[in-house]
Assembly symmetry: C2
Homo-oligomer: 337 residues x 2
C-alpha cells in the first residue's frame, strides 16, 4: 500500500508515529506532509529509515492509497488546520487512518465524505466492542512472553520490541510483535489500543492478544507503554505488566532523560528502583525478571560516548544492555531467548 | 428521596451496592426487590442498616421516587429477568438509577419509555465527556488526602472511607468522601466511575475530583478500588494511587481471605509485601505511608475472635488496626488526622 503521512509542523522530532511507520512499516511512504519543511526529503534529517519527499499538502501527492495521521498531539485532539488534507483525501476516495483520541469516523463531515466517495476511515485507537476483564491466564500459552518496560514515556519501548521481534525472525525463530499503541497497530495492521480501553479492561485487552497469538508462536514481544511511576499513565503500564504475565522484561531508557517528559517536576528515580518496582509488582501475579536493558542514545553524537552510556546503564540495572537501533539487538536477544 | 432497591436472588450476601445504600445513603429505602426472599425484611438477615420490606417485584411497591439497581454482576451486564421491574418503574414515571457497565439509557426500549413517561435514567457508571489525563497536581490542594488501599477487591475500602469521613465529621472536622465506584457515587449523588473511564484517564479522573473538592475541606477520604496485585483490575488501583497523590494510606483486608476473589489460583502475598508495594510504587509520584489497617471481620462470629484477628493484622502490617464497622473507627482516625 502507498501511503501519505501527515506530520505538519512536527517532523521529525515530534512525529513519533510517522517515524515508526517510516522505519518499520511494510507500506511504501510516497510523501510526508509538513508545511514547515516543503521541498525537502526525509533523508535530509533522518537517514536510517525509508526516504520520501516532504510536501506542504496532500494536493501535491499524485498517487497514494491512504492518508495516515502521523502525529499524536498531547490529549489526542484533531487540529483543524489538517482538515483540508483529510477532506481532499476522502473526496478522492482514499482511506484515512488515524490514531487520535478524536475519532474521525465520528466527525460528521468526514463520515459523510467517506460515505459519498467510498473511502474508509480507520480509527485505530477505537477499541473493539468485545473487550472484557482479564482472566489471569496469559501464562497458559506456549510462547515465552517478553515485555518492554520503561523509565518514562517516549523512550523507545515499541522500537525495542519491534527490533527484537525482527532480529529473532532473522535468526529463524518464530517470533511475533504484540502491538498495544496506535503506531504499533498502524505498522502491524491489528492490535488493541490499550491506552484507550475501559480502565477495568486494561489487563484484559493485553491478555486477549496473548491468548490469540500465544499458541501459534514461540516468542511474543509485547510493546510496553508509559512507566510504572508516571503521574498520569501508570495505570496503563500496570495493566500491561499484569495482563501480559510476562516471563522476561527489557528495561528501556532514553539517555539523558532525568525527569518525566512533560511532567518535569517529577525526577526519575534510580534505575535500580525501577527494576525492583517492576519485578516486585509483577511477582504476585507472575514471577518475572529484568533480563536486559535498552538505551536510546539518539541524543548522543559519538558512538564512543553512546557505548560508554550503555555500559553505565548496564551497570546500574545489573543486566546486559545496548542500543538496539544504533548498535544491534543481539546483546538483548541473547538474554531473552 | 424514597427508593426501591433491585437485588433479585442476591440479597444480602452478593448485593454489595444494595447493602452500601442501606447502610450509608440519606435516601429512604422503601423496599428491596428479591424474588428469592419475598415477605421477609432486611433486618431478618442484616440488623445494622436501615430496615425495609423485601418483596418479589416492583408491582408490590406502592410509593417510591426511584428504582435503583442494587446488584452488580461480574461483567456488569443487564439480566433480562429484571426488565419487567425497570419497565414498570419507567412507565410510572419513576427514575431508574443503575451502576451497570450496560447503560440503560442506551437500551432502546428503556430510552423510549423514559422519554414517553418523563422518567430519568441515570447510568452512574457513564463517565462525563470532559475527562482527560492527570496533570500530577493533586498535592496542590489544601486538604490532607487519605486513600484506602486493599489486599483484594470486596474487602471494604468504600465502607472504611465512608466510616472515617463520617467519624471525622462527627468530631467537627471538615471531611469529605471522594467516590470512585458505582455504589459510592449512588450514595453521594456525584463522583467519577474510575473503573469505567478511558485507561489513559484513570489517574486524571481521580485528580479531577481532588482538585474540585480539595480546597473546600480539610480532609478528603478517597475510596480505593481493587488491589495493586489484581490480575485484572490493578490498573485502576495504580491510577488511583498516583492520581490521588495520597498523603496517607489505610490498608484494608477481609479476615480469612487467602486468595484473590474469583481468581483463586492467585494467593495473597504477605501483608508486609502489600505495605511495601503501595509505598514504594507511590513514592516517585508522592511520598506516602500506610498509617493504619482496617480488617473486615464480618466472617468471624465472636467479638473476642475478631479482636484477636485485628491484633494479628496490626502486628503484620506494623500499624494500628481495627474493624471500623464492628468496633469503632477511632483507632484509625487517630492515625490519619
Amino acid at each position: 500500500m502507498d501511503i501519505a503521512l501527515l506530520a505538519h509542523e512536527k517532523f521529525p522530532d515530534e512525529a513519533k508515529t510517522a517515524l515508526g511507520i517510516l522505519r518499520y512499516s511494510d507500506d511504501t511512504v510516497v510523501a510526508v506532509l509538513d508545511r514547515d519543511s516543503p521541498d525537502t526529503r526525509v533523508h535530509d534529517t533522518v537517514p536510517d529509515v525509508q526516504d520520501a519527499p516532504i510536501v506542504a499538502s496532500i494536493d501535491e501527492v499524485e498517487s497514494y492509497d491512504a492518508l495516515v495521521i502521523g502525529i499524536a498531539p498531547i490529549g489526542g485532539g484533531f487540529d483543524d488546520t489538517w482538515r483540508d488534507d483529510v477532506r481532499t483525501a476522502l473526496k478522492a476516495g482514499k482511506d484515512v487512518i488515524s490514531g487520535l483520541h478524536y475519532f474521525l469516523e465520528d466527525d460528521e463531515e468526514f463520515a459523510q465524505l467517506a460515505d459519498e466517495h467510498g473511502a474508509d476511515i480507520w480509527d485505530v485507537r477505537k477499541p473493539h466492542d468485545d473487550l472484557t476483564v482479564a482472566q489471569g491466564i496469559a501464562d497458559s500459552v506456549d510462547a515465552e512472553v517478553i515485555l518492554t518496560v520503561g523509565t518514562d514515556c517516549s523512550v523507545g519501548k515499541m522500537t525495542v520490541s519491534l527490533e527484537l521481534a525482527r532480529a529473532a525472525q532473522e535468526r529463524g525463530i518464530d517470533a511475533e510483535f504484540i502491538p498495544t499503541g496506535q503506531t504499533g497497530i498502524m505498522i502491524e495492521g491489528w492490535g488493541n489500543p490499550v491506552d484507550r480501553v475501559v480502565s477495568d479492561f486494561t489487563a484484559g485487552a493485553v491478555e486477549e492478544m496473548i491468548l490469540e497469538k500465544g499458541n501459534d508462536h514461540d516468542y511474543l514481544f509485547v510493546e510496553g507503554q508509559g512507566t510504572i511511576i508516571h503521574p498520569a499513565y501508570s495505570a496503563v503500564t500496570c495493566g500491561i505488566l499484569h495482563g501480559s504475565m510476562a516471563d522476561k522484561l527489557v528495561l528501556c531508557h532514553a539517555a539523558g532523560r532525568e525527569a518525566i517528559h512533560g511532567y518535569e517536576s517529577f525526577a526519575l528515580p534510580d534505575f535500580s528502583t525501577y527494576r525492583q518496582l517492576y519485578e516486585d509488582l509483577a511477582r504476585p501475579v507472575h514471577e518475572t525478571e529484568v533480563v536486559a536493558g535498552a538505551l536510546n542514545t539518539r541524543s548522543i553524537a559519538e558512538d564512543e560516548d553512546a557505548q560508554a552510556a550503555v555500559d553505565d546503564f548496564a551497570d546500574a540495572i545489573d543486566a546486559p544492555a545496548t542500543d538496539p537501533v544504533r548498535f544491534d539487538p543481539d546483546t538483548i536477544l541473547d538474554e531473552v531467548l
